[in-house]
């Protein structure tokens, strides 16, 4: 992306070109997803099982039983895990921010937050297809993820029991 702050003289042409490249990307997305879905059905049909439509062969649980039987007794394991999970993004934030300092070599005039916001909104208005698709599908996927994240654990406890056994 050009870092020049000079206004583009052929904005409409650039925007149309960008819309076309987005359309190609969406075609790529649909193609790759359909291919993955169809491949799964074909593999399932060839192997005779695994499509998930009543052809499953569940096995007895062969996992090693949990070392500890309750949440409180294995606190250190959960503590270590969640501490590591909390610290890793913090580490990456600091590391990447330090790397981001390389970007300051560009002599870009400082902008007010209103200008930053206006440039973002301008980009959204110029690229309505990308904005609309991202907004709608993000919202839809967000709802799916929130339902999955909130209700899958209760589901597996009810379906398979606590401890997975």
């Amino acid at each position: 992306m050009s870092q020049s702050l000079k206004p583009a003289t052929n904005t409409r042409h650039t925007s149309a070109k960008r819309q076309r490249s987005f359309a190609a990307f969406y075609c790529f997305t649909i193609l790759i997803w359909m291919s993955a879905g169809i491949a799964g059905v074909v593999i399932g049909a060839l192997s005779g099982t695994g499509t998930g439509v009543g052809d499953t062969r569940l096995q007895p649980l062969t996992a090693k039983p949990p070392v500890y039987g309750s949440i409180t007794a294995d606190g250190w394991r959960l503590g270590v895990t969640f501490l590591a999970l909390a610290l890793l993004p913090v580490f990456w934030y600091g590391f990447l921010r330090a790397l981001g300092a390389f970007g300051s070599r560009d002599e870009v005039p400082s902008a007010t937050e209103k200008q930053q916001r206006d440039s973002l909104i301008g980009g959204e208005c110029d690229n309505t297809l990308a904005t609309s698709v991202a907004y709608r599908l993000s919202l839809l996927s967000l709802v799916v993820l929130l339902v999955f994240g909130n209700f899958f654990l209760p589901y597996v406890v009810l379906r398979w029991g606590w401890g997975g056994v």
Partner: protein
């Protein structure tokens, strides 16, 4: 057409009001949203995370109504989705990678998911020296994603919310990383079909509808990320 801030008449925003960096409402909204998104993605604390997340959104709406210079809504929604999506994959795989795979909670989650959707998470679970799933390709992907890709993505999304140019670059980079992981993951899933899909309740149909759709995010948000002009950002 979607309701985006791009449609709002410029006169509705009072430029004398606090901006998203100086506004207490927006600042609090950001933190509540981040913590709520992380909790919602934490597998275990989701029910606690949902009200926190909703409160963050309420604060954002309050800032909007007060006429403050809030962050455009489309960007907030897209970033929120990226945060929840990354957190869900990050924490869930993290529970399998770190010592918590050996707890009743870890086994409940993963053996349950394994029996329902992917048998790699209950057949021979916790029997290798690293613990967790016994499928080596899955474990290798976990190491790369939990230690690098997902925390980078979360950090980048947070920086992008603060209008940092490096955050924008990191989120684009990790989106392509996400797509790469998706392709590799599907390939190794297909190669282990007889061990994995054949022994799960909903097999491929279940995985495609429940889990794989969650990976769509990187695809649908990339064009939007490319359309953002960051020349005036910090």
């Amino acid at each position: 057409m979607v309701v985006t801030d791009g449609k709002r008449p410029a006169g509705q925003v009072n430029s004398d009001q606090p901006t998203w960096r100086t506004s207490r409402l927006q600042h609090r909204s950001d933190w509540f949203t981040l913590v709520g998104a992380m909790l919602c993605g934490s597998v275990v604390l989701g029910p606690i995370g949902l009200p926190v997340l909703i409160y963050g959104i309420v604060l954002y709406r309050k800032a909007e109504r007060a006429g403050e210079l809030t962050r455009p809504r489309t960007m907030s929604v897209v970033m929120l989705f990226i945060l929840v999506d990354a957190a869900l994959n990050y924490v869930a795989w993290g529970i399998d990678l770190f010592p918590s795979h050996d707890t009743a909670l870890g086994l409940t989650w993963w053996a349950g998911l394994g029996r329902t959707l992917d048998a790699a998470y209950y057949i021979d679970y916790n029997t290798t020296h690293l613990g967790g799933t016994a499928f080596v390709a899955e474990k290798a992907l976990q190491i790369g994603c939990v230690l690098m890709l997902f925390p980078m993505r979360i950090a980048g999304a947070w920086a992008l919310l603060q209008f940092r140019r490096w955050g924008h670059q990191v989120v684009i980079m990790t989106s392509w990383g996400y797509i790469l992981v998706w392709v590799v993951w599907l390939s190794q899933l297909a190669m282990g079909w007889d061990q994995r899909m054949a022994h799960s309740l909903y097999g491929w149909f279940g995985y495609l509808t429940l889990c794989v759709l969650g990976f769509l995010g990187a695809f649908v948000t990339l064009p939007y990320l490319y359309s953002i002009d960051t020349r005036t950002w910090d």
